[in-house]
């Protein structure tokens, strides 16, 4: 559990632009739209100012020369005074126009960020699929899913919300102050320090509460662990009559979480209380100073309205800015965790391999295989199998049986020696090509959350019901499926049926059989099937896959005996090989395994004669 918190290097934020490729313009458009919408927002107090000061009052129109000229000479103040609906309508029109840009900002930033997130999601998914077999043997599913979902979402939020908000706040600050300074320098100067104080205050605050956040998050995690373990271990709880103990344990966590949440909320209460105090004091100061200058005639009522409105517009984004900046650090961490996956090399080389015709002749010559950590699993394997023959493999756990057959599908690559398929060196053959010609059934096969029919015809999507039923019959699973209420349309997994280990194996066998592949591999994939069914499956196999080269890993002597070639593996070496008859002539492991069968009766006799304990 602890090791899921591996520390990945935080990425540089600039690398997010590479994923944005093709949508940068849209995103830039969103930023421009923010700027325009912000400008439109200024228009409202400016129109109010013009109306109050120059239309109702008698101050000369105080606007940039072109506009002032247009209003005084073309529209005329007199006309406006009798048609006050016009500035009112103008306010509505400007707000609406600003709204249009605000809308486009939302839309464009959503499109750009969602497209980017989609690209990252798909790249992750595809990359994960193409990582090596070994990677997935060791992978921690929970951690990978976390990275693919919540980390991607953190990056998405950074683009869709945080960056835009920072942009908006920046644009506001950069444009509001020139405007305010143009109106009245002393008042503008006076307002600046508090805005800075509020910003610094919130930035510092949010950085500091992150610890409190983390504490309460972790406490919640502990709470749900207790709950989860109680639910999954309900049998143990009841069998030991520990309801009360469990309740106390939960109560302790529940109370701890309540305490920590209250602490967090308390911190927030202080923050919002004091930051509201600062903001309102700021407004009071503006009003007071404005009034003071107003009384002296240095500021008009309209000027004061503009000051009050624009300061009010500024305060909220500035207070949010602190929080966003504190949050933005998370995006770099998430991006780093994502890139760690994407930077892991896939198992596919740049250029595709050979795609020869495959009939199933397999030859191993002094094949060695070792894992990356140097553990040698196969030490000089040599044998030959002709198309249509069956090779059975026997050996103790860890002798290298599975590795041997995994090499055939290039799930791992041999480290020395040579394997040829129809005379072509296996390493030269394209991985996907060879895999689509080798029907490999794993010991613990995975079934997808689809219907049984879809699962069986996965690799042959175009096959009709006839082929599906045929393959299922040969895998001795047809009757079982027909027995389900929904038959072949039954969903597999949580929302459908849960199949037993043996049933899963048989569905996987049907899935492999339907392909008609020239090479079939059963990696102990009949282990959970009872002996009679095993015999039935092998019989139909002999009929259906007459031309296929078949590899079977098994412990069952009957399975082994009928093979054309039996390999007995021990510690990565072939210790015996040959047909049943040949091996029976030798006093080896195979003969001893076989002898157990015959010793059964003797054993039973001994058993019966034994004194009762």
């Amino acid at each position: 559990m602890k090791n899921t918190e591996q520390t990945s290097k935080p990425a540089k934020l600039s690398s997010v632009w590479t994923y944005m490729h093709g949508y940068k313009l849209t995103y830039a458009g969103a930023i421009v739209a923010v700027a325009i919408a912000t400008m439109a927002a200024y228009a409202v107090p400016l129109v109010v100012r013009l109306t109050i000061d120059s239309v109702i009052g008698d101050r000369p129109v105080d606007l940039p020369p072109v506009l002032a000229d247009w209003i005084t000479n073309r529209v005329t103040v007199a006309w406006l005074a009798t048609n006050l609906w016009a500035p009112g309508l103008f306010i509505v029109a400007v707000t609406m126009a600003g709204g249009v840009f605000q809308y486009f900002q939302r839309k464009w930033s959503a499109v750009a960020s969602e497209r980017t997130a989609q690209r990252i999601r798909e790249e992750l998914y595809d990359h994960l699929q193409h990582l090596s077999y070994d990677y997935h043997v060791k992978a921690e599913t929970g951690d990978l899913i976390q990275r693919s979902t919540s980390d991607v979402d953190t990056v998405r939020r950074f683009l869709a919300v945080q960056l835009v908000e920072v942009g908006r706040a920046g644009i506001l600050l950069a444009t509001a102050y020139p405007l305010l300074f143009a109106l009245h320098v002393p008042l503008a100067l006076l307002s600046l320090p508090i805005v800075v104080v509020i910003f610094v205050f919130s930035a510092v605050f949010f950085r500091r509460v992150q610890k409190a956040f983390k504490q309460s998050d972790e406490s919640e995690g502990r709470l749900s662990t207790v709950l989860q373990e109680n639910l999954t271990g309900v049998r143990v709880v009841r069998a030991f009559a520990r309801q009360r103990f469990e309740e106390e344990k939960f109560a302790e966590r529940n109370t701890e979480f309540r305490t920590l949440s209250r602490k967090l909320i308390g911190v927030f209460a202080v923050y919002w209380g004091s930051s509201d105090f600062l903001a309102m004091s700021h407004m009071l100061m503006i009003l007071l100073a404005g009034t003071w200058y107003g009384i002296q005639g240095a500021l008009s009522i309209g000027d004061i309205v503009v000051f009050l409105s624009i300061e009010a517009m500024l305060l909220w984004p500035v207070r949010q800015l602190g929080r966003i900046l504190a949050d933005m650090g998370k995006a770099t961490v998430s991006l780093g965790r994502i890139e760690e996956i994407l930077d892991t090399p896939t198992e596919y080389p740049r250029q595709p391999g050979l795609c020869p015709a495959i009939s199933g002749r397999v030859e191993f010559r002094d094949v060695h295989f070792a894992y990356d950590d140097g553990r040698e699993i196969l030490k000089g394997i040599s044998f030959r199998a002709e198309p249509g023959t069956t090779v059975a493999i026997l050996g103790p756990t860890g002798s290298g049986k599975s590795s041997l057959v995994h090499l055939l599908s290039r799930l791992y690559d041999y480290t020395a020696g040579s394997i040829t398929i129809d005379g072509v060196e296996l390493k030269e053959i394209d991985k996907k090509w060879i895999r689509s010609h080798v029907g490999l059934v794993l010991q613990e096969p995975f079934l997808y959350a689809k219907t049984l029919k879809e699962n069986i015809r996965l690799a042959r999507a175009k096959d009709g019901d006839g082929e599906v039923f045929g393959a299922a019959r040969d895998a001795a699973i047809h009757d079982v499926i027909e027995g389900f209420e929904k038959g072949y349309e039954t969903l597999v997994g949580e929302r459908g049926v849960t199949l037993s280990g043996g049933q899963k194996q048989r569905v996987a066998i049907a899935r492999a059989l339907i392909t008609g592949n020239p090479i079939l591999v059963f990696d102990d994939s009949l282990s959970a099937v009872d002996t009679e069914t095993d015999v039935a499956i092998r019989r139909s196999l002999a009929r259906r896959a007459r031309h296929a080269t078949t590899f079977i890993i098994s412990h069952r002597v009957t399975t082994l005996a009928s093979a054309d070639l039996i390999l007995v593996l021990d510690d990565g070496r072939i210790v015996e090989s040959g047909t049943h008859e040949q091996l029976m002539d030798r006093d080896g492991l195979y003969r001893r395994v076989w002898a157990i069968q015959n010793s059964l009766e003797d054993e039973l006799q001994k058993e019966m004669n034994r004194e009762p304990v």
């Binding site: 559990m1 129109v47 109306t51 109702i56 006050l84 009112g88 400007v94 709204g99 605000q102 839309k107 930033s109 969602e114 989609q118 998914y125 997935h136 599913t141 693919s148 979902t149 662990t225 709950l227 109680n230 143990v236 069998a239 030991f240 009559a241 309801q243 009360r244 939960f250 529940n254 949440s261 209250r262 909320i265 927030f268 202080v270 919002w272 209380g273 509201d276 309102m280 009071l284 007071l288 009384i295 002296q296 009522i301 004061i304 103790p396 756990t397 799930l411 490999l440 794993l442 096969p445 997808y448 690799a459 999507a461 929302r495 002996t531 412990h555 002597v557 492991l589 157990i596 009762p612």
Partner: protein, 609 residues
């Protein structure tokens, strides 16, 4: 598929449900009342600020007078302080209520979960329960406290603004307020759409998580079947959908704000037009005009908040329904009142009245039928002497586990009875029965914590010395000693830092330290390595000694060791007797035995040749 599929909306507002929820709000009624009052104050002060601007303009700026400016400053200062205190109080109170309600809901839910019968756990996915106890509880606490905040504030704010406007100038006030109805309609419409769209996004998101889960878990199989392309294509349909729904959500909220702002600006325009005309006619002051304009900029906010709360209440109602359904589920197995009176309940046992059972147990015509009507055991009869060990063999689904579950009183027989020392076990409390039980599961389950904690789970008052002795008895002491922290080593969540064999040994120690009268052992089918297997077999012998035991057995040595073997098929005993008698029958037992014999011998041979 069924009731566990997440449906988010229930049809109508359900007052009865909310009344039931009042029970959870009740302990906080003082805080809630205080909160309501504070919110009214917050709203009034919020609405007062434009009035202050009005005073500044009309009293000081227009007449260019400074008289009373100090008092004005003091008044404004008081408002600022009051509001800051208000904000502090409101967050503290609302937070207290929220966190408190969530805490209480979880407490009640957890207690109920400890009482519910196994049949409930059989048909309810753990994920479903987890979601009720975590996110639903959270959402409900959230809505009750912060919903009240927003309703009280939004409502008072609208009233205050309306009152101030009308008191300043009734005609102008009414003109401007005309904007509120369309504002409310638009808000309700959009908030509903936004909520729905958001829900769609969440659903798609969980589908994407599911797809990742499948993609990663199935990656190995995907390679062997060369399904990478097809999988990616399928995944793309999810991500496309995710993008579409997310962009649609953004478009809805992108449309909403401009529309609200535009409607608000109509108010501003009207105020400027009618108010300005009034100023020129001398019937309205400058201050009033500015205050009006201020209000028109302000009042879309309470409307928006109210609309949001109303739509969220609907979603919260779905959470409430699901939590209440959990809390109100009645356990199927309960102690009769007179039993509870004598023996105590699951949380307050009266141990002084408990007698120790001798270990004899008898099934008399026991039948068990699942709720769905499937009969898994019929007319089962069995007399077990104290200290006798019974091995149950048979295929998956034959009814072995049902017999064990009945013996543990996880289920009770549908008809017939089970007698302990001659008395129906329903005459004693469930806790009494289960307190005399030891249970080792096929998939051993440990709790996070140390090894010591886990062994002590069997008997809470056990000393360290007793724990060590228990571990020694079941051969666990050796491997524990090799761990860096020994008995204080953490086992990880669900025990996943230990191997299956190690977990099994710990669970034997946990069982033996409880010194149970009855012992139940569900043997694992998959074997661990031979060395550990030997240790486990040894542990089994130790634990069985002198106890009445039921064993779902797979290994020959376990079967051979038991006093009596029952071969179960389709809920019936088809063969019964000692090992040698059953072999002599050459029937079902003989078949099972020989195939298992071959498998084990072969395993043995391959491992030790």
């Amino acid at each position: 598929m069924n009731q566990f599929e997440e449906h988010d909306y229930s049809k109508e507002f359900d007052p009865q449900l909310w009344r039931k929820l009042l029970r959870f709000a009740k302990p906080y009624r003082r805080q809630l009342t205080g909160l309501g009052l504070v919110m009214v104050m917050v709203a009034v002060v919020d609405a007062l600020f434009p009035m202050m601007n009005r005073i500044a303009i009309d009293r000081f700026i227009v007449p260019a007078a400074t008289e009373g400016l100090a008092a004005f400053l003091a008044l404004y200062g008081v408002l600022v302080v009051v509001q800051a205190v208000n904000v502090f109080t409101l967050i503290t109170l609302a937070g207290r209520v929220e966190v408190g309600i969530v805490h209480d809901l979880r407490e009640v839910g957890f207690r109920r979960l400890q009482e519910l019968s196994f049949s409930y756990y059989d048909r309810t996915p753990v994920g479903w329960i987890m979601a009720r106890m975590t996110s639903d509880a959270q959402r409900l606490g959230d809505t009750i406290s912060w919903g009240l905040v927003d309703i009280a504030w939004g409502g008072s704010m609208m009233i205050a603004i309306g009152a101030f406007m009308i008191s300043m100038n009734a005609r102008l006030g009414l003109i401007v307020l005309a904007v509120i109805p369309p504002l409310a309609v638009a808000s309700l419409y959009f908030q509903k759409r936004i909520l729905e769209a958001n829900r769609e996004v969440r659903k798609t998101n969980s589908r994407i998580s599911g797809a990742y889960n499948e993609g990663i878990m199935g990656a190995k199989t995907t390679k062997t079947l060369v399904q990478e392309q097809a999988n990616l294509r399928e995944f793309t349909t999810h991500t496309n959908r995710m993008r579409e729904t997310s962009v649609r959500t953004a478009i809805f909220s992108g449309l909403y704000m401009p529309i609200v702002l535009t409607l608000g600006s109509i108010g501003t325009g009207l105020a400027l037009w009618a108010g300005g005309t009034g100023v020129m006619a001398g019937v309205i002051t400058y201050g009033t005009l500015v205050a009006f304009i201020g209000y028109t900029v302000q009042f879309f906010e309470p409307v928006r908040e109210l609309a949001r709360v109303i739509t969220e209440l609907q979603a919260a109602q779905a959470s409430a329904e699901r939590i209440m359904s959990l809390v109100e589920t009645e356990p199927e197995i309960v102690d009769a009142p007179e039993v509870a009176a004598r023996y105590g309940d699951s949380f307050h046992p009266k141990r002084e009245n408990w007698e120790r059972p001798s270990g004899g147990i008898r099934f008399r015509d026991g039948s068990f039928t699942y709720k769905e009507g499937e009969q898994v055991l019929s007319n089962f009869n069995l007399v077990v002497e104290p200290g006798e060990s019974i091995a149950l063999v048979g295929e998956t689904g034959s009814g072995k586990s049902t017999i064990v579950n009945l013996a543990c009183r996880f289920y009770e027989p549908t008809t017939g009875e089970i007698l302990i020392d001659g008395r129906d076990y329903r005459e004693r409390s469930i806790l009494w029965h289960q307190s005399h039980l030891g249970y080792v599961l096929q998939q051993p389950h440990l709790f996070s914590g140390t090894i010591r904690d886990n062994i002590r789970y069997g008997r809470l008052e056990a000393t360290d010395e007793e724990i060590r002795r228990a571990a020694q008895l079941v051969n666990a002491h050796h491997f524990i000693g090799r761990l860096e922290d020994g008995y204080d080593s953490e086992v990880g969540e669900g025990g996943n830092l230990l191997s299956t064999g190690e977990k099994q040994l710990i669970s034997f120690a946990r069982a033996i330290i409880a010194d149970p009268v009855f012992f139940v052992f569900d043997e694992a089918t998959s074997s661990v390595d031979t060395e550990t297997e030997r240790l486990i077999q040894d542990a089994v012998s130790t634990v069985l000694e002198g106890r009445t035991s039921f064993i779902i057995a797979h290994r020959l040595s376990t079967i051979r060791r038991s006093d009596r073997i029952l071969v179960i098929d389709s809920g019936r005993v088809v063969e019964e007797g000692g090992h040698r008698d059953l072999l002599a029958l050459r029937g079902r037992y003989y078949q099972l035995y020989t195939s298992q014999f071959l498998e084990e011998e072969e395993e043995e041979l391959l491992a030790h040749h």
